[in-house]
Amino acid sequence: MNSTSNIRSLLTAGWLQGAIPPILLVALILIIELAAPGFLSGETLMLLLANTAVLFILAAGVTFVILIGGIDLSIQAVASLASVILAQLLPGIGMAAFPVAILGGLLFGILSGYVHVRLKVPSFVATLATGGVVAGIALWLADGRAITIEEAGRENTAWINGTVAGVPAVALIAAVIGLVAFFALRYTPFGRHSLAVGAGEPAALAAGINVPRTKIIAFAVSGTLAAIAGTILAARLSSGSPNLANQLLLPAIAAVIVGGTAITGGLGGVARTAVGALIISIVRIGMTFIGINIFAENVVFGAVLITAVAITIDRSKIAIIK
């Protein structure tokens, strides 16, 4: 009897912890609506969704890696490389440029995973290094310049910038990717294995889980999603450049953590990341909406980031906070 009530209290506590990020999200929307009425209009919300899409896709990829207890610092370079490949190939091979760019991301994701698992280099260093390799390749391919997607290529990217039934296509793409990632984590052996590896690698190994394979797949997913984000970004900006996504790495990781996924791994998921990405981009857009000095925006963003993490993070599963 006593033990069942213990379990029940644990469940409610866990539920409460999981509910904090969405509550914060709603609170933020209300605060901005109060400070600048008109924020809660359909048009602004559609803009918000469209602007969150790229960040969310990047963050969803890196969620897989953070869940296994690693980190992927190469996503910005992979996304930039994908944008360069897309911009260069669109005039020549048309729509086929998309799969080529995304395959490039898959390839470098597997490379990161391979370096991490087979050479036993910690993921922070491994992906820092592969990120450097990829950034160099992107610079070399693009000859150090930004490549504009000309009129001929833009025909093939128009569908990304369009809307379907009033909803921006990018938001729909992000939603589909989010759903696939969500179900992959929840209902496939790979997803369960990822959580197990992140929660306790020795136990996962002892239970017979193929840890190296699980890790390499996680990095491959991260690289693929980063490349998809890069192609969408290139289509939206009509340009591919070796440093197109450079400002997105840390916000993406921040989105994962603010959403409530533990940076130590084993706890969290893609749904939380979606909430985290929305929080990050609402803060960004909200600052413009309220009219904060553009030079001071980073100060507010940093302070909100710290506050958000302090509120949303689940400390019960982290023994030592490093």
Binding site: V117, K120, P122, V125, I257, A296, G302, L305, V309, K322
Partner: protein, 338 residues
């Protein structure tokens, strides 16, 4: 325990007689980064003898000054097992303060060397803020310092009004322009920072406590180490070094702007890691980092001398990090690699 590990080592070493195994045995342990550095120097000298000319060596020393000072501070944080992403924020705060308080072309201040003290104090305060946020709000250093990075960068961009301000105080500019015994004064400052960091790590209680906390935080706490105080002090100390680096950077460039700190975080982390300090904490130290900084700078200098395309340099550096870390990791201590 130690004997067990040694046994394991010899067994594993013997079981792998391949060429890679031999290379790993040769390079495993503490001397690996030094061997990498020496090998690099020899290879570059063979390819282009002008590498070894005094003029080029001074150039290498000069471009190592800021990364070395930055990496000194970062080493203590990584020794703790944490990470400090606020490097660029703290550095740009220090550079902004020194430029705005010393003689400059944006306002009529000329506080001279007081500006330098204020800059280092400001950056130290940023470090303490990181430490306090991390320990008091109990959030991982990764996120705490990420926030402080944005705050620091934001404040400095706001104060500079988004433009570049020139530093015109001649005595501070002398850090980059004047020379003592053939080396720019900035290099001596960086060497002084290195000496200070060595002293702190090897001869003070704080230094030993940092290594103890990084090695095993729970054990350190049980042994009576005040972990919170050690963490806060370490972050403050890191901020102090970032402040010195910021002053050096402003003196070298002769101005401060929004992008003065761009790319310095990853360069500093690379140097610390290539030097052999483990990101898991408790292993390595400031001497490793000195070698790491030199490896990175020599590699960059060598690639310029050899005429490697600047676009490929990043790629080569990435491959270099993988090779250095993969060769020098002590795998017996790393059953689980994260």
């Amino acid at each position: 325990m130690t004997a067990d590990i040694d046994n394991l080592k010899s067994v594993r070493g013997a079981a792998r007689p391949s060429l890679i195994g031999a290379a790993r045995r040769l390079t495993s342990g503490r001397a690996a980064p030094l061997l990498v550095l020496i090998a690099l120097c020899v290879l570059i000298t063979i390819a282009n003898p002008s590498f070894i000319e005094p003029r080029n060596l001074i150039r290498i020393a000069n471009s190592s000054a800021v990364p070395l000072t930055l990496a000194m501070g970062l080493t203590f944080i990584i020794l703790l097992g944490s990470i400090d992403l606020s490097v660029e924020g703290s550095l740009s705060i220090a550079a902004m303060v020194v430029v705005l308080l010393a003689t400059n072309d944006a306002n009529s201040n000329h506080f001279g060397w007081f500006a330098v003290v204020a800059a280092i104090a400001a950056s130290t305060a940023m470090g303490f803020a990181s430490g306090l946020v991390q320990t008091m709000l109990r959030i991982p250093s990764f996120m705490a310092t990420l926030g402080v990075w944005f705050i620091g960068l934001g404040i400095s961009v706001y104060m500079l009004g988004g433009s570049a301000v020139r530093l015109m105080d001649p005595s501070i500019r002398d850090l980059a322009l004047a020379r003592f015994l053939g080396l720019p004064l900035g290099v001596w400052v960086a060497l002084g920072a290195f000496g200070l960091a060595c002293t702190i790590q090897y001869y003070t209680r704080l230094g030993r406590h940092i290594v103890a906390v990084g090695g095993a935080e729970d054990l350190a706490e049980l042994s009576g180490v005040n972990v919170r105080r050690v963490r806060i002090l370490a972050f403050g100390l890191a901020g102090f070094f970032f402040g010195i680096a910021g002053v050096l950077a402003a003196a070298q460039l002769g101005r401060s702007d929004a992008v003065i700190a761009d790319g310095r975080l990853f360069a500093a982390v690379t140097a610390v890691v290539v030097g052999g300090t483990a990101l898991t904490g408790g292993e390595g130290g400031v001497i490793n980092t000195l070698i790491g900084v030199l490896i990175v700078t020599v590699l960059g200098n060598g690639m310029i001398l050899l005429g490697v395309s600047p676009y490929v340099q990043q790629t080569v550096q990435g491959l270099m990090i993988i090779a250095a870390v993969a060769l020098s990791l002590d795998r017996q201590r790393l059953q689980i690699v994260k």
